[in-house]
Amino acid sequence: MLTKELFRRPKNELENYNKHFKAVLPDVPNELCVLCPVCKQTLFTGSLQENANVCPKCGHHFRINARQRIDMMTDEGTFVEFYGNILSKNPIQFPNYDEKLKQAQLASAEKEAVVCGTAKISGFDCALFVMDPYFMMGSMGTVVGEKITRIFEYATEHSMPVVGFTVSGGARMQEGILSLMQMAKTSGAVKLHSDAYNLYLAVLTDPTTGGVTASFAMEADIILAEPNALIGFAGPRVIEQTMRQKLPAGFQRSEFLLEKGFIDAIVNRKIQKATIARILSLHTKGESE
């Protein structure tokens, strides 16, 4: 894998980012230093982690897993996980999918690509979903669709806001049409939650693409994004192949989406929790001063 990475030239500038994210995984304690892929500075892993995995020199947001994000964004000891034991089947008997799932479980230490539950964010109750980039790049199959749907249904039933962090390569090919159906299923759950006057806040992180962008990621009432996150429907490589031209720098990055009017704000990870808490506080029900 490492040698392969070494010889693999990125096909374009956009893909060049975040290639070294593996170094900050918590299960690699021997790595004392990390090279920032953007500013090329050598950083101490410890100081990087203390800085919310944001490069102190240039502000590059390193990719993090779902548990790290939950620790960072919720009040200590308040997170209660739901639906943690749901596992994928191989519904269309796709070749090698069972193996692929096992590998993903080992790589991510998660059972599937999204973690759901309830938590407090600076004292505010919310239902939460956090996707994990280390599980098949956060791709959405039946289990991801089911867990997202359930957390929205739970939040609707309890009149709670939903806070969701997305990171996904899109619908999961290995579950075929059933993955596609999850886009409709999750969208329906978001709609019912919304129709009951509940708040849904999404934070889009790098990368959020394909079927997740084209469903629940873009359906939030308030959409925040991390700086420089790749957000789009079609991936940059596919567009380059179709258009037969190089894409402009910054295309499909958070800043581009903000300019085009598709997200509400770009929020640095270090102030995300405070920002989310402030938005939640402005949506508390039945209280006005």
Binding site: T142, M173, L180, A184, T213, M218
Partner: protein, 260 residues
């Protein structure tokens, strides 16, 4: 026929396209253009018509017939404005209590710089969400290719039907082959793996029915569709709105088995 044969049949030259279905199933079709936001996407045809007297809203992805028309219609690959145009018409249908019929035939939503700039993902997402609770009956029919999110954006319906030689898939066989085997030529193998034929999808419970075809003569198919649409739409019009919408939600809610 193998899965790959079905893919070829769905894409075959000379296969009727969206407009042919509209013209042969409905009467008094009036085409209505534009999304009122950006422009008029010719990959999506929308309008109002009569189905044996009953006013209906019709939406179709249209690939075009000859080369000139195909280019003008972007080979049936819609931009965000196409999906927004469809949604605008569906919301008008809701206002006036007309059922909606969608014909799906696309290799996928257009992927390009302009489509991304104008929010392709957001446009599709919006349709999925709004169609789920649309308060009039909706039937979607796959008549050729059902390419991923671009097809689903017009297929959140009370019932989804497929023509015998249509396909519906999360990714194109070419895309699947190039990811799996790094070889886009292994389309045959990929077509099998994806379970994209009408028979597969009926078995998976993703569609309600398969509309049989009889060779190149589609007149019987149109007739059958006219009758089935009439039966389904008149039946669903009788349902209380809440029941109609709940049924649609539960239709999609059930998809996918899991271990728990």
């Amino acid at each position: 026929m193998s899965a790959f044969d079905k893919v070829c049949a769905a894409r075959a030259k000379g296969r009727p396209t969206g407009m042919d279905f509209i013209n042969n199933i409905f009467q008094d079709f009036v085409e209505l253009h534009g999304d009122r936001r950006f422009g008029d996407d010719k990959a999506v045809v929308t309008g109002i018509a009569r189905l044996n007297g009953m006013p209906v809203t019709v939406v179709a992805l249209e690939k075009g017939h000859d080369t000139k028309e195909k280019v003008a219609r972007n080979f049936g690959s819609a931009h965000p404005e196409g999906y927004r145009k469809a949604l605008r018409q569906m919301q008008l249908a809701e206002k006036f209590g007309r059922p909606v019929v969608c014909f799906v035939d696309t290799s996928g939503a257009y992927c390009g710089i302009a489509a991304e700039e104008r929010g392709q993902g957001q446009a599709i997402a919006e349709n999925l969400m709004q169609m789920m609770t649309l308060e009039v009956p909706v039937v979607s029919i796959l008549i050729g290719e059902g390419g991923s999110g671009g097809a689903l954006a017009l297929a959140v319906a009370d019932e989804v039907w497929m023509l015998e030689n249509s396909v519906y898939s999360v990714i194109s066989p070419e895309g699947c082959a190039s990811i799996l085997w790094k070889d886009s030529k292994k389309i045959k193998e990929a077509s099998e793996c994806l379970k994209l034929t009408a028979d597969d999808l009926l078995q998976l419970g993703v569609i309600e029915t398969i509309i049989r075809e009889s060779g190149k003569d589609f007149s019987k198919t149109y007739q059958k569709l006219n009758q089935r649409l009439w039966a389904t739409l008149t039946k669903n019009r009788q349902l209380p709105t809440k029941e109609l919408v709940t049924k649609r939600y539960n239709r999609f809610r059930k998809f996918g088995e899991i271990f728990e």
